[in-house]
């Protein structure tokens, strides 16, 4: 297993990874709360982007409804904590189970009935929207007026119940991001990973070769949805409030998938680069506009949209593939996107 994960990384790659990891681990003592908060957000998007990438980047199934799984994880863990005092790590198990089960339902319905391509994407949106409106009327978890976790001044960090200051969440999210990277590399280099890539490139050919495409796609959806819900649990305990209108909204799904697309779909470093670039861009624009004294609401998003379009026009495969080639860090042999 370890040889599967860590083999074939060029020396330069090791150096780059270790330098980046050490730098990020050393950030909190030297940074203010703002920087920490932004980095937590970046790690969150890197993690969810990585999870989404399993479905789209590896297995070629475009999901536009990943906010569904974030929301299920968040609500499951938060509701167990609020109503029964069950801690987030056990709640996380519940969240993963519920989310993976729902992912399996979406996948089963779509793959069994032959819903593919654009239709599959819209089916995933439909489930997320269905959940959004459903949770709006789900009284037990607060309905449209939201679910709140008890907040107090945290004197010390309690990792077991995920109550603490942003620095604790910084290390938790960082750990999750690294774990996701390792898991995804293992998956991508396993037999299953090669099956996924075969399905992504040509599903009919893959089936003709004897790959059980239904089963492989189901596994991709289940892993991806379960993983996504982990981020949802941490998200809930970090922000301490949940509203269906926000948690399940399609804009949340889109936020998740922009990172991997911008960074490089189907690559392992792409989702991380994408999260850094997009969140950095978003926060950077805020600073630039503040110094220019432009305070009209919406101005930031207009520039953000323009940047998205410029990147997608200039770099059709995302930022990472050309960058990796330039730095001599290609993670595997060249292939067509």
């Amino acid at each position: 297993m370890t040889s599967l994960v860590f083999a074939d990384i060029p020396v330069r790659g090791w150096v780059a990874l270790i330098v980046a990891a050490v730098l990020l681990l050393l950030v909190p003592p030297f940074a203010n709360d703002y920087v920490i908060t932004v980095l937590v957000l970046i790690f969150y998007f890197a993690f969810t982007g990585q999870a989404w990438n399993i479905m789209m980047g590896f297995a070629g199934q475009l999901s536009l409804g990943h906010a569904f799984y974030v929301g299920l994880g968040a609500y499951a863990a938060a509701a167990l904590y609020v109503h029964f005092g069950i801690g987030p790590w056990i709640g996380m198990l519940a969240g993963i189970l519920i989310s993976a089960w729902c992912g399996a339902v979406v996948g089963f319905l779509a793959f069994r009935f032959g819903v593919g391509g654009v239709y599959f994407a819209i089916l995933t949106i439909a489930f997320a929207e269905f959940a959004r409106i459903g949770f709006d009327h789900f009284r037990w978890v607060g309905g449209s007026s939201g679910l709140f976790l008890p907040v107090a001044q945290f004197k010390h960090n309690d990792l077991w119940s995920l109550r603490g200051n942003p620095t604790m969440f910084y290390y938790v999210m960082f750990g999750l991001m690294v774990a996701a990277l390792i898991v995804c590399r293992a998956l991508l280099r396993s037999r299953l990973g090669f099956y996924w890539q075969a399905i992504r490139e040509d599903e009919h050919a893959a089936r003709a070769l004897g790959i059980n495409t239904f089963r492989c796609k189901m596994i991709a959806v289940v892993i991806s949805s379960g993983m996504t819900s982990i981020a949802g649990v941490v998200f809930a305990f970090y922000y301490n409030n949940l509203f269906p209108e926000q948690t399940f909204h399609i804009s949340k799904s889109i936020e998740i998938i922009l990172g991997p697309i911008i960074g490089g779909i189907g690559t392992l470093i792409g989702p991380i680069i994408g999260a850094f670039v997009l969140t950095g861009l978003s926060e950077g624009l805020l600073d630039v506009l503040a110094t220019l004294k432009i305070t009209v609401p919406g101005a930031k998003q207009v520039f953000y949209g323009v940047c998205l379009i410029i990147v997608i026009i200039l770099m059709p495969n995302g930022i990472w593939p050309p960058l990796a080639r330039a730095l001599g860090l290609t993670e595997r042999p060249e292939r067509k996107p």
Partner: protein, 290 residues
């Protein structure tokens, strides 16, 4: 509840649904020909609604009369968008096109927010509270006019595709891209024209719908989703399907609003979508789309 109430609500749903259908028709035409899903569709309708509201506020121009000029403006917008931004993306993978159109949608939504602010805007026509009595039915004048106009515009579009040479050329591009290139059609220009026509539909629908719905910037994404719902239910790429889907969703939402709670009405539409996708993935009137 007396039976008439159900009938009235259903009638209102049909008329609203016709306008929804016209909006979705634009999306369906664009997908049917160019094979690009317009993720900025609702945002484009919001542009049309804001133009209508502004013209009404400034010059007291009736949105129904301004329907044609607004459609022309949206046509130009759609034409330029396709000619300059989307055409280079035609052969790119779906997620790449998706990104581009999401980017366009974000820009439109927030530009509207910058110009008009977050408050809801509406038009108050002199006939806003008129109604007609047809047998047991009482029908709002605004909805009757809008539904009638939606039928007219759709009929014009059907006729264009059926009887004009340009319309036939566009259908040729949809049927066989390579074949269309071989016989010397300027596919890129026809695509731009198609996107323009789809945008004109949504422009006309926006001018109608502003008669009975207040406009705010976030309406855009919501209507993009609604348009998806309708065309998938009716059959993506099928023109009659869009209208049928529109009416079906219009009635479903109206009835769900009456029988349950208005805030939960779209849940039923999404449930309908899931059922249609499972049992007839190509949509009610779609021909094998995959």
């Amino acid at each position: 509840m007396p039976f008439e109430i159900y009938l009235n609500v259903a009638a209102a749903g049909v008329l609203t649904g016709l306008v929804y259908g016209l909006m979705a028709l634009g999306l369906s035409v664009i997908f049917g020909v160019i094979r690009v899903v317009n993720f900025a569709h609702g945002e484009m309708m919001a542009i049309a609604m804001y133009i209508a509201v502004t013209l009404f506020a400034a010059f007291k121009l009736d949105p129904l009369l301004m329907m044609v000029p607004i459609a022309v403006v949206l046509f130009a917008f759609g034409y330029l968008l396709q000619a300059h931004l989307i055409n280079p993306f035609i052969n790119r993978p779906e997620h790449s096109q998706f990104m581009l159109l999401v980017g366009i949608g974000i820009i439109i939504l927030n530009t509207l927010l910058m110009i008009f602010g977050p408050d809801a805007k509406n038009v108050q026509t002199s006939y806003a509270f008129d109604s007609y009595q047809v047998g047991p039915l009482i029908i709002d004048a605004t909805k009757a006019y809008a539904g009638g106009a939606a039928i007219l515009v759709s009929a014009a579009l059907f006729a264009f595709f059926r009887f004009t040479l340009v319309g036939q050329a566009i259908r040729a591009c949809a049927d066989n891209y390579t074949g269309a290139l071989v016989v010397g059609l300027n596919v890129q220009q026809l695509y731009a024209l198609t996107f323009g026509l789809g945008s004109a539909c949504v422009g006309a629908a926006g001018a109608m719908i502003v008669l009975f719905i207040d406009v705010t910037p976030p309406l855009g994404p919501a209507y993009t989703l609604l348009a998806f719902l309708i065309v998938i239910t009716g059959g993506l790429g099928s023109m009659p399907g869009a209208l049928v889907g529109g009416v079906l969703i219009g009635v479903t939402e109206a009835m769900a609003g009456l029988l349950f709670t208005p805030s939960a009405k779209s849940m039923f539409s999404f449930a309908l979508l899931v059922i249609v996708l499972l049992f007839r993935p190509q949509g009610l009137l779609g021909t094998s789309a995959r």
